[in-house]
Amino acid sequence: MARDFAVPPESFDEILAWFNPDREMAAAMYVQLRHDLAKTFRWRQCSDPEGMTDEVFDRVARKIRDVRPTYTGDPRLYFRAVANNLVKENFKKIKTQIALEDVDLTKQQISEADAKDAEIEECLHGCLQELSSDKRELILAYYAKEKQAKIDHRRELAERFGISVETLRVRTHRICLSLETCIERRLRRNGQRR
């Protein structure tokens, strides 16, 4: 999505100040909100989530002087409302173009089409070495079983750690997220070398 550069530079500071008077906290909230908005755009099948997130921030930046003094409540919800309007405006653009059968993993088309599985595996092994042994073992145990068997297995695992299944899921998700970030970083680095 093309960006509108007619956004006053000082608006960014004002957005940060709106999030939190403490600039560090505000910056962390900004990073998190960008990530979360992009996620909601993905859920809604938008083709350019990052571009649309930029557009949301640009739109808010242009209006912040008028909005901020009168808006009450969590500013993130204002951004969400702007995002919602943007999706509606772009409805035609977010329509998917690819036929479902072309992208179904279970039909083994992904590994053939992209042929990167071996590279991902290599990166995964490198990233697993970066994990502490506790985390590596947790991921190993969590994913050791499939289908119906995994439900009982994860319940036992949670009991063993003295936590709820939900907390266990959150923990493994965070580890997976860091693994995913690490793998993507390595894939990017490999791509740059080629």
Binding site: D22, A28, L33, W43, R76, L105, S132, E166, R169
Partner: protein, 267 residues
Amino acid sequence: MNNESIDDAFLREFLLGKVNDEERVRIEDLFLTDPQAKDRVLGVEQDLVEDYLEGTLTTADRERFVSRYAQTPEQRRRLRITKSIKDWAIAEAASSPPRKTSGWRGLFGLRPAFAIPIAATAMIVIVVAAIWVSRRAGHSAIEQELAQLNAPSSVREEPVSLELAPVTVRGADSKASFNRQLSENEVVELRLLWIQKERFPSYQATIRRVGDNQSYTVGNLKPENDGKAIRLKLPAPLLSKGTYQINLSASDGSADSAEEYQFTMDT
């Protein structure tokens, strides 16, 4: 999560695009503003991805899933990454089945042909244990030095500073690095940003160099700046070239979540 009526099944419907606009907006609002809700949505999404990869979704749900999670090359790459993690775990679990021995009774009931190699192994274990104990003493000395360095009363002038954001924050600078030679007396001061809402009176940090088994723990680190940052000081001689990983959590172990940070020593 604030709203009890939102259970995992409902979140799954949301993720598959089966809820109406009003419900979708409600969940998106929670996702953006409530960290617990966010964790839960992401957890349900993780389960959904797994079910897809295991082929347990109904045909209709699979089609909905594919239209939402496998449309772009980036999404497909993420699915492949998750699949590779699962495949690795299943293969590892299959290659190391749980032991079926019956403890001491099984060991003492062995025939002599097996007893000799076991005795030899036991000797090796004892020798290795002795080496480990001696290394442990060195390890304790380093941890003691770290504790002194990080004690509130300890003051060293002009340490080399670096601010680190947790690696789980997307967009955070994951390439934080030192690229100059440090002298033996220098101290590296890391400012670890704590972005979680929940704050704790003190923290403990565990640092390890990627690829090494050895890790060092520093406890009783007091937060500063209203709990938004924790300062960790490290002596330069501890840091050789490589990537370092720091896990930060509440000292009392009460926190469900910890944060992870990374930085690289280039020289």
